[in-house]
């Protein structure tokens, strides 16, 4: 009976929604398709070819910046996750304590401040430290990316912790487990999906970060995104499409894994 008049239907909404999905995917699709173009054009199809992928792989600068990006993302996400676990334990499922709001604000701060502001703030500090210590290594980028990844690593870990039953740990301590043992054998194994999700999110975020890197990096420390940003002003061949496609595939892999982890157990 309710079927005769569908209360969920709003005329025109379906059309706009489908159009939105098409608009959302069409540009990416065009980008991916033309990475396989035999010719140098972004709009005229000359046949299928993998030549731009070969070109990208043979390009030493691309190799260099890709390795740096992956290394940076791995280090920053690992450190950020390692720091986010104790912070999440200290601020989740606990009684309110003085300064709790301040801890939340500090942890979430990178989410609220525009990247350009964080970028120039770090530029100022890095310029300062560089002059006084002479150090020009990757440490600046590692610190900047780690700080930026912390909220992204923290959120899934916290979300996972909130679903854990505190009686499990109580049971462990009833059986004379020390707090450390209870954490090691009860909390930590249950927390693994949250930790994995936090790491993956951090990894993707670090890989995507372009503005902060642009302002913090020293000469010769380009990452894949800053390299691409620099190239976009020139005449672009489908080699850039090939690089972007590989980059997209990598992000997609991590996001899908993140989804599977958080959905199944959540």
């Amino acid at each position: 009976m309710a079927k005769s008049y569908d209360v969920r239907r709003l005329p025109g909404f379906g059309v706009i929604a489908v159009a939105t999905f098409v608009l959302l995917y069409l540009p990416i699709l065009v980008l991916v398709v033309f990475s396989f173009n035999a010719g140098p054009s972004q709009s005229e199809w000359d046949g299928f070819s993998l030549q731009w992928y070969y070109a990208a792989f043979a390009n030493e600068q691309v190799q260099d910046v890709s390795i740096r990006s992956l290394w940076l993302a791995a280090v920053a996400a690992s450190v950020a996750t390692a720091l986010a676990v104790p912070a999440a334990l200290a601020t989740t499922r606990v009684s309110r304590f003085p300064g709790q709001t301040m801890i939340y604000a500090l942890i979430n701060q990178p989410l609220m401040v525009p990247e350009i502001v964080t970028g120039i703030a770090l530029l100022i500090v890095v310029a300062w430290v560089k002059v006084s210590t002479g150090y020009t290594g990757m440490g600046y980028l590692v610190a900047a990316h780690t700080a930026f990844c912390i909220p992204f690593a923290y959120l899934p870990i916290r979300a996972r912790l909130e679903t854990l039953d505190p009686t499990l740990e109580t049971a462990a301590s009833d059986l004379y487990a020390s707090p450390l043992q209870a954490f090691r054998y009860i909390t930590l194994p249950l927390l693994v999906p949250g930790i994995a999700a936090g790491f993956m999110l951090g990894f993707v975020i670090s890989l995507d970060t372009v503005v902060i890197t642009e302002f913090v990096k020293s000469a010769g420390q380009d990452t894949l995104p800053t390299y691409m940003l620099g190239q976009l002003r020139r005449v672009i061949t489908p080699e850039m499409n090939a690089i972007a496609t590989l980059f997209l595939a990598l992000s997609l892999l991590f996001v899908t894994a993140f989804f599977l982890i958080t959905r199944k157990r959540g």
Partner: protein, 302 residues
């Protein structure tokens, strides 16, 4: 006894949080405070600052002085134009995202639960894929030799390529494209909780679809609208990559103006002051959002 017990318990919380907080203080919050300090210093000759107190940085945000007669003060129209463009483009971006995002979120929320997860995933993928790559994809589409111009010329609609790139329109298109998922997700979250019996009640009382939409659905999903608008507006107002790639040199937004002061402009205090201004706008938007959420909750309780 109880009090001591309490302080002991809180101590470990701070201890466990300390490493994360330390990194955030050193590489995120601390530097922001230094920006605030720098906005009150004098510019150095080749960038950097000299440690002399000055309000000139803040002054130059809004005003400019005549080179020959420093007492002759006028509005700094170059900067004001950039502010105007930034706010106007951000507002338009938010409106476009709302116009496309509302039906999209509604579409997802009215699917069967199994299909909903898939559609939601389709919205989330662009959200987590690189913003630069999505901006690049738009650049490729609208450039002179891009897909849109090629197709329009092949169809005989235009004779020569339209100059779409490096304009306000290009920035608007790019921002709406990259930030759209941020509008859909909170709207969907609000619609997911929507009690469809209320919608049904509206129809039972002979309301038209337009009236139900306006008087029943919109008020109920308003929190999602507010959250989505804030989530789109804030990154729009602070955008740097999208206007840099799609806007070109003449159509700057505030983010690019800030970057310019630390590059060719060589006026770090002015750049710092502009950054603080951006931060103030963002914080104001967040406070507005929190107020809206609180008053909404207050209404529900009251």
């Amino acid at each position: 006894m109880a009090a001591r017990d309490d302080t002991e318990r809180h101590g470990w919380k701070w201890l466990l949080s300390a490493p994360a907080l330390l990194v955030l203080l050193v590489a995120a919050s601390g530097p922001l405070m230094i920006v605030a300090v720098y906005s009150f210093l004098s510019p150095g000759n080749i960038g950097g600052v000299t440690w002399d107190f000055s309000t000139e940085g803040w002054f130059k945000v809004f005003f400019s002085r005549d080179i020959f007669e420093p007492e002759n003060v006028s509005w700094n129209w170059a900067n004001l134009t950039v502010f105007g463009r930034t706010v106007w483009l951000s507002v338009q971006t938010t409106l476009i995202c709302a116009f496309l995002g509302f039906p999209t979120a509604w579409f997802i929320a009215t699917r069967t639960p199994e299909k909903r997860a898939l559609w939601l995933f389709l919205i989330t993928i662009p959200f987590w894929t690189n913003l630069l790559i999505r901006t690049f994809a738009i650049q490729e589409l609208i450039r002179g030799t891009g897909m849109i111009n090629t197709v329009l010329m092949a169809l005989g609609i235009i004779d020569e390529p339209l100059q779409l790139l490096y304009s306000n329109f290009a920035i608007l298109l790019g921002m709406a494209y990259v930030f759209l998922p941020l509008m859909v997700l909170p709207l969907y979250a609000a619609m997911d909780k929507l009690d469809f019996r209320l919608v049904e009640a509206g129809y039972d009382l002979y309301a038209s679809r337009a009236r139900v939409l306006w008087h029943v659905i919109l008020p109920l999903v308003k929190p999602g609208f507010v959250a989505g608008s804030i989530l789109v507006f804030i990154p729009s107002i602070g955008a740097y990559v999208t206007p840099r790639v799609l806007g070109g040199g003449r159509t700057m937004m505030l983010g690019n103006l800030i970057a310019l002061q630390f590059g060719q402009g060589r006026n770090w205090p002015l750049g710092a002051a502009l950054s603080m201004l951006l931060l103030i706008v963002v914080m104001a938007a967040l406070v507005f959002y929190l107020r809206a959420v609180n008053s909404e909750e207050g209404k529900r309780r009251g």
